[in-house]
Subunit: 429 residues, 2 copies
């Protein structure tokens, strides 16, 4: 009668209990750090009007979306990112919300990526954002939260580093180097490939695609010679237009130093992040071995709320997905064991003790313990096997004579120690 | 530059932090009770092959789905229910999984319902299932878990009741009453309306739609005269074909009695549940005032895994949505306060103390406390206002002279009590 071969769609994951436990560990840790930082959790719909995404990212994004027309004739899309929803929600209540708004969310996001090994079409992504504060302290707070998210999993400066740049500073430096203002976004996208394509490749593209002269190209490439912040400061600290951006960045770094996080941060002007809407600090967290894609990326997007929600509020945030992070934690042996455990497993010797077993099971559960028992009667040996397989810490055996006396035999499954305990006292402190 | 009026799609909810906190309370309570019962959490994709749903529920279900063709030409649907995914996943690993499989999940589900006041197009639904056990003890275990889910929220037998029937028993009684086997499903659907349409209305439909004679209609209606289980047992306990079904139901009720849950359970043959695939116990949980739709519904579906996954495994489960439950809890005053709180709020008197503030904030957060501070410098009075608004239990004030001495003034925000404490000792046990 049936097609008995249903499978999950390609790029979508089934989370069996062992896999769910890993995901739950990640989500729990994210929530815990967000709580320490005073962020509050929100959520929005996994399906939104298509235009919410095209408004922010342009029509090209549709190529990557799960979008369709719903039964009411609306063009809709499964959310590919959370920021537009955040911007929509924050803008809708902007007047009544205390600023800064410190919010986080852990949505499942969807992109129709071309199928590649290990490339998924859904993932869970921590989104943490600060809305309504332009002070560089917010930049430091956000980056510190991203770093502490990873530290909370047991990762250290031996495992990851945050590469930090600033679009405001980069803009000022590029204008100073002679890049025309109307070609800035184009140049961002070209220099973003500096690591991959090298100085010469990027130089050639700057000449050709950005139509820049040799001098401007040289000066542009010179900007990226500096691999630490102090060198940039020494070179451009007094340059008109650039100095205030350097001062702002210095403040952010100073605050991260006060928090003791300097070892996790590396200044790197070549971190541009492709998206057009960043306006200030941008950062990405990478594993130091460079084996994985970025673990986390974010930055300041001061104009997006105006664009999506019609409210001028500065904002910044980051996204951290579960997939690369899980790979890294597995690689470093930092995933917890996911063994099933129980506080109690209760065993009737014959089916006649079932009422006493059920009464005890229910009372223990009511008290908050995790308890199980064999739904179908089995021999005592088989039931002990179940108890072991389910990770029970203690068993209670109740036989016919025990019922008469109102007792059960409590066994500690680790030590093997047994004792007869009145049924009414089992599980009492 | 923009359409600044984006809104959520009709029937979809935004969860601002206060609303998220309510949802988090419900999810947390569900997880807690599932844990006590020894169930493990799993999840599947929110997007599945369309055929997974049409195979189980027939092509009519498509009317209610968010379905579309993806970029790879696949017919897909956003999940309207979890059971097909569960059946698919359990069947795929049926051989390697320890039975009974006790699993739960809390998916967000999607249906394109016609717009009505308060009708949503998404909700979160606890799904709790037992796979691989046909013993009536599994029926009792499942129903007990449903009842305890509500008890864990503070609801009592004054608030809700589980109406319980059994499709096996009903089938035997209807066959005995003279309903032809090939019209059973039709008759289930007609008598399901007994409460709404009354004895005469249902009688007329049985004659017309099911083409039953007067005698059979009378005997069929007689089946539903009995409002308690003992009466049914007295009337049909010796009837061939019916007796084993009554015996099974008696076992289930006996086990619920042993668990102390009798007050929550009412036998009610008119609970049929429309879905064709139920094969045994069926139940629904209602508020006793009858003001709301069912809070929870479920039952045994012993043939579904064969149909969807090609593996013959008995199974039973229930679904409990967040919407009706939240209404009921709100109505009974059982929703918790969702006030934002902080362990600490740290206050520099002038901007010069910011490094000390940041160091303390970061150390306290590293220790697990929730801590906040003003990102932009403000006057001390304004910062105290923030601390109150954010629900801070304690503040630390650090002024210029404090920095010199290495101390801060700790203030208990409830008692108003203040003390000077060395910075290095703040937050230490």
């Amino acid at each position: 009668m049936s097609n008995a071969n249903f499978q999950a769609l390609p790029g979508f994951r089934d989370f069996y209990p062992d896999e769910f436990a890993v995901r739950a560990h990640i989500v729990r840790t994210w929530r815990e750090v967000a709580r320490r930082y005073g962020f509050q959790e929100y959520d929005g719909p996994p399906l939104e009007p298509l235009e919410l995404y095209t408004e922010k990212s342009g029509p090209e994004i549709v190529q990557q979306l799960y979008n369709f027309t719903d039964r009411g004739g609306r063009d809709v899309a499964m959310r590919p990112e959370m920021t537009p929803t955040l911007a929509r929600m924050a803008a809708a209540r902007a007047g009544g919300l205390r600023k800064p708004i410190k919010w986080f969310s852990i949505p499942q996001l969807f992109r129709y990526e071309r199928q590649q090994r290990g490339r998924l079409r859904e993932h869970f992504q921590l989104n943490l954002d600060i809305v309504g504060e332009e002070d560089p302290a917010a930049d430091a707070e956000l980056l510190a939260a991203a770093i502490d998210m990873l530290r909370a999993f047991g990762l250290t400066e031996q495992d990851f580093v945050a590469r930090v740049s600033d679009r405001g500073l980069l803009r000022a430096l590029l204008l100073h180097a002679g890049v025309p203002e109307d070609r800035l976004i184009l140049v961002y996208n070209i220099v973003d490939k500096l690591e991959r394509e090298g100085r010469e490749g990027v130089g050639a593209r700057l000449r050709k695609e950005a139509e820049m002269g040799d001098d401007a190209v040289e000066r542009t490439l010179d900007v990226f010679r500096h691999t630490d912040f102090d060198a940039v400061r020494a070179a451009y600290g007094d340059t008109e237009g650039v100095a205030p951006e350097i001062e702002r960045m210095a403040q952010t770094f100073g605050q991260l130093r006060a928090m003791g996080l300097t070892d996790y941060v590396r200044f790197d002007l070549s971190i541009v992040r492709g998206l057009a809407y960043y306006t200030g600090i941008v950062f990405e967290l990478f594993d130091v071995r460079g084996e994985l894609r970025a673990i986390c990326g974010g930055g300041r997007y001061d104009n997006l709320l105006a664009q999506v929600g019609g409210v001028q509020l500065p904002a910044l945030g980051f996204g951290m997905g579960d997939v690369v992070l899980t790979e890294l934690l597995r690689d470093r042996g930092l995933l917890p064991e996911t063994r099933h455990t129980l506080d109690w497993y209760v065993i009737p010797v014959t089916p006649e003790q079932r009422p006493q077993v059920l009464a005890l099971v229910h009372r223990l559960r009511d008290g908050g313990a995790s308890v199980d028992y064999a739904l179908k009667h089995q021999g005592v040996g088989k039931q002990f096997k179940n108890a072991s397989a389910l990770g029970a810490r203690r068993t209670v055996i109740i036989g016919p004579e025990d019922v008469a006396e109102g007792v059960g035999v409590v066994k500690d499954m680790e030590s093997g120690q047994e004792s007869r305990v009145p049924l009414a006292e089992i599980g009492r402190p």
